[in-house]
Symmetry: C2
Subunit: 206 residues, 2 copies
DNA sequence: ACAAAAGTGTTTTCACTACACCCATGG
DNA sequence: CCATGGGTGTAGTGAAAACACTTTTGT
């Protein structure tokens, strides 16, 4: 795995995000802190490589995954680094491995190797931008969710508080929501109606 | 340049667009029709490789260039294909080479090898999308231009006619325009005021 | 009873649309 | 003088913003 013949490989890197109170990304403790990386195998697709990288590091499967950007690979000893971002609700992420944990994107400069900082930053920007026109917020929620939960996702990714009534009007108008018959009782307050995402294809890569 | 050791290389592909009456892309006659392709050299950056590919095929330099998407490279005999799109005003493109010409994006299916069709299509979509929030239209114009020319670019990329007065209001409000003192006399009608792009960085990759 | 989140309408504001005429020039 | 594209303002409409109270529950 070194100087056989110039730089041999393409790497994929994955920034996995979830929301637990705040937006967090998955970080490996190694060195200064790193994102999961995979080396492309012969015959392997890029996205498959990214999923494998994530699975190898964490055991996580079946997350929403989208290409972010492709970087020069010099400093990492590769020809190119294809970066992805992944989204998943925190309940689906049973991370109980040493050296794997969550971190705050605002602290990438102290928590992450330099080459990987830009990936987390750009992913956050992309997320905030896409929030407006693509149904990515639902990727952070379970199959059924309340409007309060959905609003929290929008507020956290968009980094600003939203008006509850305007938000609900907007969501109902968006035609992504399907109301279910059930409610969730969750504490000392009125139960919340549960919704699910209308089952058209949730997003298109690109 | 063949089977020494599995698939050795990363390729870059460039779809160069310009506007001459219509939106057109640069096409090489070879085979069914191809886009300029470059193989990444050791130590070379991806964007540099894309620029070199374009330069080698056409002699064109110094165009606006932005990454589009990275594809699996199997069918092209590469590990990955990093696609770029480039924009330039047609005056700056002195193409007088055999086997190099312009083509209509609407006819990619007949004019272009299958692997390259998707690149032109996605680039067109990205262009139409970015038009709304990024100052890419100016990349098709000379340094100084008229509002009529600018509107034509918007109409061609956005594929719809626009109201002249609303368009001008919108552009003036956008703060990208700087009015110059000069006008252009161009035919049997009133001369048109010339504008230039306000000199902040024109766009950010991503 | 009270604390805590769920749920609900109306008014205002602002950006976008539609729309028609005069201006300056070259031939 | 006429054909051609350059240039201008106003009224209407629809989407988003601002804003406060009642409902239902667990403790």
């Amino acid at each position: 795995m070194n100087d056989t013949n110039a730089m041999p490989a393409i790497h994929t890197v994955v920034a996995l995000f979830t929301i637990r109170e705040r937006l967090e990304f998955l970080r490996l403790d190694a060195e200064r802190g790193r994102l999961p990386v995979g080396a492309l195998l012969p015959g392997e697709g890029l996205e498959a490589c990214a999923r494998r990288a994530l699975w190898t590091a964490t055991g996580i499967e079946d997350v929403f995954l989208e290409q972010l950007y492709t970087f020069d690979g010099e400093q990492a000893g590769a020809q190119a680094i294809v970066a992805y971002y992944a989204l998943a609700p925190c309940e689906r992420l049973p991370i109980r491995r040493p050296g794997v944990g969550w971190a705050d994107p605002a602290e990438v400069t102290t928590l992450l190797a330099e080459e990987h900082q830009i990936i987390v930053q750009r992913a956050c920007e992309r997320l905030a931008g896409k929030l407006e026109y693509a149904p990515i917020a639902y990727q952070f929620l379970a199959e059924r969710f309340t409007l309060g939960e959905l609003q929290a996702v929008y507020e956290i990714i968009g980094r600003q508080a939203l008006d509850k009534r305007n938000f609900r009007r907007r969501m109902h108008a968006s035609a992504h929501l399907v109301e279910t018959r059930d409610v969730r009782r969750n504490g000392p307050h009125r139960p919340a109606r549960l919704y699910r995402l209308r089952d058209t294809q949730p997003a298109v890569a690109g």
